[in-house]
Amino acid sequence: MTVQLDARPPVVPTTGGHRRFSGRLSRLDTRLSPYLYIAPFFVLFAVFGVYPLVYTFWVSLHDWDLLGTDHPFVGAENYTRLLADVDFWHAVVNTLGIFVISTVPQLLAALWLANLLNRGLRARTGWRMAVLVPNVTSTAAVAIVFGVLFGREFGMVNWLLDLVGLDAVQWKSDRVASWVAISAMVDWRWTGYNALILLAAMQAIPRDLYESAAIDGANRVRQFWSITVPLLKPTIIFCVIIATIGGLQLFTEPRLFHSGTNPIRGGPLRESQTVTMYMFENAFAPHYNFGYGSAVAWLLFALIAIVAAVNVLVLRRLGGGPDARKGAAR
């Protein structure tokens, strides 16, 4: 804009016209710039975020596959077929099972870890880095490493079990055992991250609350449960929602935990196939059935919304602490 102004022939030093023009330009600048600056985000997100999600619903109402030239409208047929699909429900149970087994211990451990980190420590940053480092490693790499740690014959976990006199576990071919192994992977990655979020919220709790509680004779454990935890509730709810959205879409860990033939099934008998894996199996290789895969995506979307809502309702009830304030958001 300045360039344009400078480019005007400097014939008359200060005419009224010039001033009016530059004034108008600057008004235009103040009015339009904000929209110009936020436009890239909204345009790109609309095209590559919102549109695909909405269009998924449209596709799910059609008999649509990669090779077919026409894709007839079939209404709710994909959904009715899906609701009667044993493999789909099997994947739903797997996903929820892994979600529960991973999230509950993860948040309890994170709370405990945050409590430890909230003390006068030497080398504070070092400890924080140590618990966060799993979160920055490559998910695919870690899934492969855990796949070996939980191996049948030469896996380190079974070796340790043997050392303490326990039987070896079939971590890949036993359904619940495979859930546990995958949950271990998820918890390994996310416990430290959640601990740091909770730690940040803990440090924001005013100190005098603890002092007056101590004067009233509350010991440390009592203080933790009746001051720290209730005041952390918004943050805990935030962590649960994030864990729900991520956990119910789990894909990379279970996918790479298995190798061999058809690993997208999550084991020979679909022991740990999650819903996202089932969507992938139907929508891409080997079936390329876009319509059916899209129906899976939308039911998963509904499942996430339901589970998140239930979690929030249950957590609000529990404990009865102040929950009117908006939680910490990342």
Partner: protein, 277 residues
């Protein structure tokens, strides 16, 4: 900051255990990567590095199924481009949301926050169809372009700009005749630098790690990202575990390097983000 309780030896013991569990799988990855493949069958398993790293690396790069070098180069291009773009657009939008007055500002900001809750991964099917139409399948733009902006980035920069950019400085610059673009470039960008660095690091790591979408859209085994190379290695019919682990170690190394150099800032970014909203 309430530092009420002193740390007891028990606290340190518990932290040592926690830190050990965090670090061990990574450590072990490097151990196996530096040994010969029969390390896999040994019990008790070896936990100290061996001398085979060089041989494993050259076998990995010679492996004609994994295209590991291509994967590394592709991931560098993808993560680098996405990082620059996310930081730039997030700074622009974050500045507008924090410091400029315009109609619909609060409503639009709510939309940005809501986008962080949307499971966009569920839109991969139409995205795949879109890429087919654009003929971007098997090519890097397919994984770069959809990742160019994030709601998280915009929100983070907006939070930071609110407190780091001084209104007086903006006013003064405007008095001197600066348009909004020059205000952004000369006043806002320098003030946003610390947050931009954290956002850049986080974005780089997320993009480098991304798996599902590249797996869906980059089907040509000769043109993978590094995570897809790992998949090819791990799904291989004959598994040479020390070679696979060399791959996982090399794919993790850039992330660890970034983390060791900038861990303090990354931790600060995560923790500040948690309290401020």
């Amino acid at each position: 900051m309430s530092r009420l309780w002193r740390a007891s030896p028990l606290t340190y013991l518990a932290l040592v255990v926690a830190a050990g569990m965090s670090i061990f799988p990574i450590w072990w990855m490097f151990v196996v990567a530096s040994r010969s493949s029969d390390a896999m069958g040994q019990l008790p398993p070896p936990i100290t590095p061996g001398g085979n790293l060089g041989a494993n690396i050259s076998r990995l790069f010679d492996n004609t199924d994994a295209y590991f070098l291509t994967g590394l180069i592709n991931s560098t291009i993808v993560a680098g481009t996405v990082t620059v773009s996310v930081v730039f657009f997030a700074s622009l939008a974050g500045f507008a949301f924090a410091k400029l007055r315009f109609r619909g500002r609060n409503a639009l900001l709510l939309v940005v926050i809501a986008t962080m809750m949307v499971p966009t991964q569920l839109g991969v099917i139409p995205l795949y169809m879109l890429m087919t139409r654009l003929q971007w399948n098997d090519r890097l733009p397919a994984v770069i372009v959809p990742a160019l902006v994030t709601g998280f980035g915009v929100f983070m920069m907006r939070q930071y700009a609110g407190q780091a950019v001084s209104d007086e400085l903006i006013e003064a610059a405007r008095m001197d005749g600066c348009g909004t673009a020059r205000v952004f470039w000369h006043v806002v960008v320098p003030a946003l630098r610390p947050a931009a660095a954290v956002l850049g690091l986080l974005t780089f790591m997320t993009t480098w790690n991304d798996f599902l979408w590249p797996y869906a859209v980059l089907n040509d085994p000769a043109n993978p990202t590094v995570q897809l190379s790992l998949r090819a290695l791990s799904d291989g019919y004959y598994q040479d575990m020390s070679q696979v682990f060399t791959g996982t170690a090399i794919a993790t190394l850039p992330l660890l390097l970034v983390f060791v150099l900038f861990g303090r800032q990354i931790i600060g970014g995560i923790m500040e983000g948690a309290v401020k909203a």
